[in-house]
């Protein structure tokens, strides 16, 4: 895959190409759903369940410009919604389909009305039950009542109400199981609403529950925490959380996140923020996380490539994945930032071990032009991420280490000057104040 070995071969022996000659194992396909190929919507949607499936399908439909896939996504969304009771989403989907899928996928007003009527009845029933429970003051029943209300509102897409009701159960929770149940429901609704600060607080609440949590719940909480951190742009924390997720997660959290997502999010965030030691210990040698990485072999390959300095292939994988990552509901607005960070880390890591680097060879390794590379390096140097200077004439990058002795002298002289200046102005000012004060005192006396 890397051609730099061949081009530099005979001429200069002492210049070493960083990361030459890797091989690319053909371990693609099989369960590669998040791959470089066109996204297989059916397989993708099969990973999720519940409301998130619908939301993801709608998101893909919005982002896709390709009409057939868009219609495919909308069709699947329609089918999914019909299985539930959310008339609001139904109306939205119908509007988006706009009759393009034929008469079977048009506005089914009858269904809508039936669902709405059923909803009204159910709501009344629930209210009556709840009032009865409240008069009886049986804690457990009140809690169940509120829970049912929460579930009802969630099914109908009124997320705010659902959240309120789930939170109301807090006062009636007696065992830690109840508390955990409440937290999980609150987390689910918060994620759907996109209010991630709530997610963080409820995760910590759940983790503080007195009883030990079972492994699945722990894994779910870690994922939720990771998601919250991702949205808050705290990529390092997000990576840590995702990497700590145990393989027990399995398919249990389909209503929020799939295992492939854990691998992708965790892998990319780790790559963008961890240093080499952490990357090795927490990602590559992490046996738990390996299970997840098996599901997205491209991410696994690109992490390994980065670690072994095969930057060209790493960046190629990234490029391939990009199109599909932009369709992901949680990751899409972070893709650019993460990619930039990964690229910068690659550049810094490339130049780190050398005293001088030939920019032509480096440009080859990164499959970019020398001029573009120069601009990128300039930005990194100005940012003080690389300590080096560019010899633009010969196109070489020279490492430059700060001269501590000179720097110390300069600092000393500067501090002396500042002290001098400050004390002199202070003495002057105090003199003025004394003068002013004396005048006032004289006037008083």
């Amino acid at each position: 895959m890397d051609a730099d070995d061949e081009t530099s071969g005979p001429m200069i022996d002492e210049i070493y190409a960083n990361g030459g000659g890797g091989d690319d194992g053909e371990k693609r396909s099989r369960r590669a759903i998040m791959s470089g190929d066109q996204l297989d919507i059916e397989a993708y949607a099969a990973l999720y369940s519940g409301r998130t499936k619908i939301m993801r399908l709608l998101f893909i439909a919005d982002k896709m410009s390709n009409a057939p896939t868009q219609l495919e996504a909308l069709r699947m969304a329609y089918d999914e919604i019909k299985k539930g009771e959310n008339t609001q989403l139904f109306r939205e989907v119908v509007q988006k389909i706009d009759g393009r899928l034929g008469p079977n996928y048009g506005m089914d007003a009858a269904w809508c009305d039936a669902v709405d009527r059923r909803a009204e009845q159910k709501k009344e029933k629930l209210e009556n039950e709840l009032n009865a429970y409240r008069t009886n003051l049986i804690k457990e029943s009140i809690r169940m009542g509120y829970n049912d209300f929460g579930d009802f509102y969630y099914a109908h897409g009124q997320l705010g109400e659902a959240f309120k009701n789930y939170v109301r159960t807090r006062d009636y929770c007696t065992t830690s199981k109840h508390i955990i149940h409440m937290c999980m429901s609150a987390i689910l609704v918060s994620i759907e609403m996109g209010q991630f600060p709530h997610v963080t607080s409820y995760v910590s609440k759940a983790e503080q529950a007195p009883e030990a949590l079972d492994a699945i719940t722990v894994a779910k909480l870690r994922c939720a925490a990771g998601l919250a951190n991702l949205e808050a742009k705290k990529y390092k924390l997000a990576a840590r959380k995702f990497l700590e997720t145990g393989p027990e997660l399995g398919l249990h959290y389909n209503e929020v996140i799939a295992q492939q997502d854990v691998a992708t999010y965790g892998g990319l965030c780790a790559l963008a923020t961890f240093d080499r030691a952490e990357l090795k210990s927490k990602v590559i040698d992490n046996s738990n996380f390996r299970n997840f990485l098996e599901l997205v072999p491209e991410v696994r390959e690109l992490i390994n490539d980065f670690y072994s300095s095969h930057y060209a292939s790493c960046l190629e994988y990234l490029g391939n994945l990009k199109a599909n990552l932009l369709l992901d509901i949680h990751l899409h607005d972070h893709v650019e930032t993460l990619y930039d960070q990964i690229r910068h880390k690659a550049l810094i890591q490339y130049t780190h071990p050398f005293v001088s680097v030939d920019l032509n060879m480096m440009a080859n390794a990164f499959k970019t032009t020398v001029a573009g590379l120069e601009k990128e390096l300039e930005a990194l140097i100005t940012d003080n991420q690389i300590q080096a200077r560019i010899d633009s004439h010969n196109k070489i990058l020279y490492a430059r280490h700060a001269d501590q002795r000179n720097a110390t002298f300069q600092r000393v002289l500067e501090t002396g000057r500042e002290f001098d200046r400050d004390v002199r102005s202070m003495l002057l000012r105090s003199n003025l104040i004394k003068h002013d004060f004396n005048l006032r005192a004289l006037r008083k006396l």
Partner: protein, 424 residues
């Protein structure tokens, strides 16, 4: 006898010993009004007095004989007399009547400006200043007049020599403001921007209950010099500046603050456009020249940033990065920065059109450097001693003790016992 004749005799007689001089002083004070009324007849009397011996008498008569509004011809005759007097007078005698001396010198300044030859007043005022000063750290009102004349006469170097003295004792705050403001302008003229910044900083942060125009003008120049020297400007004044200044100075200097913001973005085209649109405002404050220097400093700063990133760079690339028009201009700029200002170290290879940036050759190993460090240490030690002395002085001050005594607990027996008379 004619009272003036009597006075003259007394002056001539009583100018020898210090007790005589004190008597003379009292007599002169009493005779002051009568002298003023006879101002026209006084000039011939002056010729009979010797300024070096009869300084006090000469001073009184001279002061009385100089009416406030004066014509050019009168000025022509008076200026040499005053100049000679200042040069010859004795320091102890004039220190007995400092305000008279001040008013004489002020009038000299006015007359010299009227004659449009400010340079004639520079040397006399300098001598006068030194004679009036109690110590080198003392600021007299003459300092600001002297600096004003230096500015008008464009004798910046003389002014600069005065500015090298540190000032700690001040009679009137207004003197200080003017002194620092004019001093700042002189330093700007000599391109000693750091010193100008210090002086202007003193004006802007001085304690003042209400803002005055001097502070506003000083603040405008402060912004510009700070941009030239440091490349940045923070709009918040330090905590020790007066609250009046902190709140209000910015409002009077709005165009300048916006100029600083525009400089901060780093885009030269924007900066130049802003300067062009607001040129009349800058012009009316006589700051247009300084503003132009700000713009050119931006080019310099960009080139300086390049020295941090590149080892060698072609002139063409410098021109494009710094947004100059041609490699030739880039060459001119680099040359100027290297040779004139000593701000960067570089060599230009004209054959390839390449500039090679070098490191600062200062190795901090020479004798001069060690001497420099040593003298800085001595200087700072002297400053610390001064600070301690001032602290001791204040703690013995009556007003301070009375205030501290008042705030003490009434029944506190362990600490020092402040005598009753201080509990006002």
């Amino acid at each position: 006898m004619d009272p003036l004749e009597a006075l003259l005799a007394q002056i001539q007689g009583l100018s020898s010993t210090s007790s005589d001089i004190n008597r003379l002083h009292t007599i002169l004070k009493q005779a002051d009004d009568s002298l003023r009324s006879e101002s026209t007849r006084l000039s011939p009397i002056l010729t009979q007095l010797d300024p070096s011996i009869h300084s006090l008498g000469f001073l009184y008569i001279l002061e009385a004989s100089m009416p406030a509004p004066v014509t050019k011809t009168q000025a022509e005759t008076v200026v040499p007399i005053v100049t000679r007097f200042i040069g010859a007078c004795s320091t102890e005698q004039i220190r007995l009547a400092p305000d008279k001396f001040l008013s004489v010198c002020r009038k000299l300044k006015d007359q010299v400006m009227l004659l449009e030859a400010p340079i004639r007043g520079v040397a006399p005022l300098f001598t006068a200043l030194r004679k009036l000063q109690v110590s080198v750290e003392h600021l007299t009102p003459l300092h600001s007049d002297f600096l004003l004349l230096c500015l008008l006469a464009k004798c910046y170097k003389t002014g600069l020599s005065l500015l090298d003295d540190d000032v700690f004792e001040v009679d009137q705050p207004r003197d200080l403001f003017l002194y620092c403001y004019y001093g700042g302008m002189i330093c700007i003229g000599q391109k000693r921007f750091q010193k100008a910044l210090d002086l202007l900083h003193n004006v802007v942060t001085a304690p003042m209950s209400t803002i005055n125009a001097i502070a506003v003008e000083a603040y405008k120049k402060y912004i510009l010099v700070s941009l030239i020297r440091h490349g940045q400007f923070s709009t918040s004044l330090p905590k020790y500046s007066s609250s009046a200044a902190q709140r209000n100075l910015k409002n009077f200097c709005q165009p300048y603050v916006e100029l600083a913001n525009s400089y901060g973005t780093g885009k030269i085209a924007e900066l130049e456009a802003y300067v062009k649109t607001n040129a009349e405002k800058f012009e009316s404050d006589n700051n247009l020249g300084l503003v132009k220097q700000v713009v050119s400093s931006m080019y310099k700063r960009n080139i300086q940033r390049l020295t941090q990133t590149y080892l060698t760079l072609s002139l063409q690339d410098i021109a494009t990065t710094v947004q100059l028009n041609s490699p030739k201009e880039a060459e001119m700029h680099v040359l100027q920065m290297v040779i004139q200002d000593g701000e960067i170290y570089a060599t230009i290879n004209q054959k390839d059109g390449m500039v090679r940036f070098l490191e600062d050759p200062e190795q901090y190993k020479t004798c001069e450097m060690i001497e420099h460090i040593d003298s800085s240490i001595q200087r700072i030690m002297a400053l610390s001693r001064k600070l301690t002395a001032m602290d001791e002085q204040i703690s013995c001050d009556q007003l301070y003790l009375s205030k501290a005594g008042r705030e003490r607990q009434r029944y506190d027996f362990d600490d020092f016992d402040v005598p009753q008379k201080f509990n006002i």
